[in-house]
């Protein structure tokens, strides 16, 4: 069956080191991290990736008070992406627009806040906010964007742990191909730095990063890595069928040519390199490509001791004997943006189609020999011979794996 070709035509993002693709990319090439120390309820200081986008650009103050941080991030990213893609959005049939937002979790922040709130009133639940339910329904981040953009088509989240950023985009591809929508806004968001539970959970797991210098705390592949820096952020793309994008003369960032999602079915937390490798191979097969056709592999590696090694094992197997395939990572700069990770990390590499540069993995002072993949780009950007295809890995708890392949657009 001949399937529609699907392209990315707009990018809207906020990350701990940039509130536009241009700023973000510049900081990735210059090695500038965006991790800081914040006060966390019950825990004291923790390291986190904090975004400073202008929420009032697209929302009223009351909307910020009533809504959620994830909703606000979605709105900012969606509106930025729509503006970037150059479409006359006023004239678009809003019933044919889909919003698909990947999330690792949603509702923890708002529930923790309410429990804290009623703790100030001797746990009397009559002080529990009536805003709690609309804030915590799992479609909240997409729903708030639909309200803001007056989109009447399907708007919902895709829950997929830390693979969710890829999953949002993959879902948009599927819905466009099925003809369910004509225009999609998709990717992932995270408000996770607002919840102590995420931090406390990683700390209890021995997987929360700590370093005296926040900018050096997230250090995938380094022998001294000691865990995850939790971050907030978001990245949403506008995604269209190729014929629609060409008809309106849209700028095309790249074509989604392959993807795959599978499950380890082995452990709640520990990854499974065999399934990760299968996932990457299946994405390549769908794209009709060989491993050597990929010029950048974005690793999911979160700077946990085992996770990094296992992903490197999987990549080493799939991309053995691929001298032109560069391997990099973005979490050293921005930490782990959870549901936004996959989509933000892809955005960090997309400009490589234009400038040919591959941003490095930073904070690798002593490369772990078990992570020493050939062509791992470390600490300094490299100029690639060519960049025609990117494979974007994003994995999550309960063993969900995703790989997405974006190709330079050629007619």
């Amino acid at each position: 069956m001949q399937q529609s070709r699907i392209v990315i035509t707009g990018v809207g993002l906020t990350s701990p080191n940039g509130n536009s693709l241009e700023e973000y990319r510049k900081n990735l090439l210059e090695g500038k991290a965006g991790v800081s120390r914040i006060e966390m309820r019950y825990m004291g200081d923790v390291l986190a990736g904090v975004c400073d986008f202008d929420a009032l650009r697209y929302q009223k103050r009351k909307e910020l008070r009533v809504g959620t941080r994830a909703g606000s991030i979605s709105i900012y990213c969606a509106r930025e992406a729509v503006a970037d893609c150059g479409i006359d959005f006023e004239s678009v049939d809003k019933s044919r627009v889909g919003i698909y937002v990947g999330t690792t979790e949603h509702g923890n922040v708002e529930t923790e806040n309410e429990v804290y709130n009623i703790s100030q009133f001797d746990y009397d639940t009559k002080y529990w906010s009536h805003h709690h339910n609309p804030r915590t329904v799992s479609n909240n981040p997409a729903g708030e964007a639909s309200l803001n953009l007056k989109v009447t088509g399907p708007a919902y989240t895709v829950g997929a742990a830390c693979a969710a950023g890829n999953l949002g985009l993959i879902h948009a591809v599927q819905m466009l191909r099925l003809g369910e929508v004509d225009f999609a806004i998709a990717g992932g968001v995270s408000e996770s730095i607002q919840t102590f539970g995420i931090f406390a959970g990683f700390k209890s797991q021995g997987a929360l990063a700590e370093h005296e210098d926040p900018s050096k705390a997230s250090r995938p592949f380094d022998t001294d890595r000691n865990g995850i820096v939790v971050s907030e952020g978001g990245c949403l793309y506008t995604v269209e069928r190729l014929e629609d994008a060409l008809e309106r003369g849209a700028k095309i960032y790249g074509e989604v040519v392959g993807y795959h999602v599978n499950s380890d079915a082995t452990d709640y937390v520990l990854p499974n390199p065999e399934r990760q490798a299968e996932c990457m191979r299946a994405a390549l097969k769908r794209a009709g490509m060989q491993a050597s056709d990929i010029h950048i592999v974005n690793t999911h590696a979160t700077a946990t001791p085992m996770g990094d090694i296992q992903e490197c094992e999987a990549i080493g197997e799939v991309f053995a004997d691929c001298p032109e395939t560069h391997i990099n990572n973005t979490k050293g700069y921005i930490g782990h943006a959870m549901g936004a990770a996959g989509s933000l990390e892809l955005a960090g590499n997309l400009p490589s189609f234009d400038d040919g540069m591959v941003h490095p993995t930073i904070n690798v002072d002593n490369l772990d020999p078990k992570c020493a993949l050939p062509n791992l780009v470390l600490n300094k950007p490299v100029k690639a011979k060519q960049v025609d295809a990117i494979l974007n890995n994003s994995f999550g708890m309960l063993g969900i794996n995703s790989a997405l392949i974006i190709k330079r657009f050629t007619k």
Binding site: R65, V66, Y127, S129, H130
Partner: protein
Amino acid sequence: MTNEECKQVVIDIIAEIAPDEDVSDINPDVALREQLDLDSMDFLDIVMELRKKHGIEVPEADYGELASLGSCAAYLTPKFNALV
């Protein structure tokens, strides 16, 4: 508490829950919803803030008493004074 002081308490709450609104010139005899961008959830916020900040309970059957600034003051002032 006087009626005027009670009106100010309500205005302060509205300023907090509807921070985009101009609360400097509210007509006390006209419904709040006709002058300000307030919805039913906002009125629930007013009820909640009265409870949290002032220990005032407004039963659901009486929500209509909060329609205007004037009716708020007429309804709430005796409740405030009963607290003292």
